[in-house]
Symmetry: C2
Subunit: 324 residues, 2 copies
């Protein structure tokens, strides 16, 4: 059913229907006419044709989220989805790995939330140029706004917790260094080490993917160092799962022999063995604010880089303890 069918049914012109249905404020219609229109629309189960509307208005009322990994980004996507919906927008999530994401998204969304750094996938720079974009959980190039959490502080808190427990040799399994997120967490780690006068040792630092295999590889490496760290800050929960598995297969007990603290408190954390101590960040809130930011951008307001106000906090569970 098209607009004109509704118009015919209601005995008015299509333009009237359009105005009534789009809730045009400063419009005068007789209450009775409006009734008839609304009636006809429901009776015919009218749904506007998105393509036609978009062609006319040049707005799709949809936004995209480009995530490097749907599992890690699930909480961010959830927050973003909620907020987008509240604002009348539809959120589409696209996974990375695409040959030509740009082609796929172009013209179907008004703007995009980019969760991948330009050093990770140079292509995202083009995307951020081709359409209104806000980086989420990553910083963008100059001129493109971003919404992140305070990763550096998170890293610092993690190290400080280990220091408070008495650890002197503290290692770090971080994400890929192309991810600025990983860089900031690393900086937090380094700054905290320096501030507390703890020894630094490049053998205690390893960068790998934000998943189980990455953490596994990292722990295998760090635990082979001599001397080896007694505490490890792993900058992702899935990586922490991998790290604990590696420790286990080496006969290294957590937390008795080595303490492990993760980053981003995902559902799994509390159910692991041992339950994982983590740094909790406001992931959903980051998603929400990123949407707000993007919508503001679409309205022409430029906002710059934002760090979510909610501060990372330590969640102590059982994977950390005083050093042996």
């Amino acid at each position: 059913v098209r607009l004109r069918d509704v118009a015919a049914e209601a005995g008015v012109d299509a333009s009237v229907v359009s105005r009534v249905l789009s809730g045009d404020a400063r419009l005068s219609v007789r209450a009775e006419t409006r009734e008839r229109v609304l009636d006809a629309a429901t009776r015919l189960d009218y749904r506007p044709n998105a393509a036609a509307r978009t062609l006319k208005t040049t707005r799709t009322m949809a936004i995209g989220l480009l995530a490097p990994d749907v599992i890690n980004y699930a909480p961010i996507a959830k927050g973003a989805d909620e907020r987008a919906r509240e604002a009348g927008y539809t959120l589409f999530v696209a996974q990375d790995g695409a040959s030509d994401l740009l082609a796929g998204m172009h013209g179907r969304i008004d703007g995009v939330l980019i969760g991948i750094g330009i050093e990770e996938r140079p292509r995202v720079r083009d995307i951020s140029r081709a359409l209104p974009a806000v980086f989420v959980n990553r910083r963008g190039p100059a001129g493109v706004p971003s919404v992140t959490v305070d990763d550096e502080l998170g890293g610092t808190l993690a190290v400080r917790h280990l220091v408070d427990l008495g650890h002197r040799r503290i290692g770090h399994i971080g994400g890929p260094l192309e991810a600025d997120t990983a860089k900031r967490r690393l900086r937090g780690y380094l700054v905290a080490l320096a501030a507390t006068g703890r020894e630094m040792n490049s053998d205690w630092i390893f960068h790998a993917s934000f998943d189980e295999t990455g953490g596994h590889a990292g722990a295998a490496r760090l635990l082979a160092a001599d001397p080896r760290p007694t505490g490890i800050f792993v900058s992702n929960v899935r990586a922490a799962i991998g790290a604990m598995a590696a420790a286990r297969s080496l006969g290294v007990r957590v937390p008795d022999d080595v303490s492990i603290i993760g980053f981003d408190d995902t559902t799994f954390a509390a159910y692991l063995d041992p339950p994982l101590t983590t740094i909790r960040t406001a992931l959903a809130e980051m998603g929400r604010q990123a949407v707000d930011h993007l919508l503001a951008l679409l309205r022409g307001t430029e906002l710059g880089d934002v760090v979510v106000g909610a501060v990372p906090e330590l969640v102590v569970r059982a994977s950390t303890a005083p050093p042996p």
Copy 2:
């Protein structure tokens, strides 16, 4: 830049550009003209306006995937995404929980892959009526095709493995009974129990959400039964994580005191403590076939319900052992 800009640049009519760019097979253009057009298009970095094209052709060249849970559906989404892309389609993933998914999707996609059963969310029935739909990992109502794996066989294999190890009291923590997937796995469990003459006991069966909390609640319940099962078939990896956590907090050792076998071999499984024995199903393949199915449907071919050919298989790890 619009089509006509490219046309002007190339010194031809817009319709020529349209035909050249859309790679219309049975079209005769002078090689030289085609050159000029292609040249102009790249020079101007032309990108077709999706809305205009859609309005004209009534096809969006995009499909949607409606998932109840992005984490559990990540492998399915990955497979679907690959295949869609190969066919020139863009895949959009929408999470459930939406107030009105239908409104959001309508007109932006040509068809949809539905990963949620109609008993779980009655609304999906409307979606399947409003646009071409194929159910994935769920059966749809009569007349709507589906692509699933052999869940029943999977359930049977799981039980058989426990039986082979010598277990006599075998429990089941399944998904929500509204999910037909959960029903089929339950049936597999029951059939295998009956076939092997194992005792049945309703205290050993629990249905809950397909996630950590569900598995946790289930194990808490089953392990409190008297006598309690020595082996448990948990129909989801995340639920198995929760179940193992519950066992641990009750001082019940896995696999010494109780064996646990999960379903759908996700990344995590191998990294858990103990590494989880599972039934591996062809999730990505299911996603791929669902896309094929939907595209066939869009071309007018009706195909009915399909069960993915790749058979579920047992992956033995360390969470299962002979009963105590």
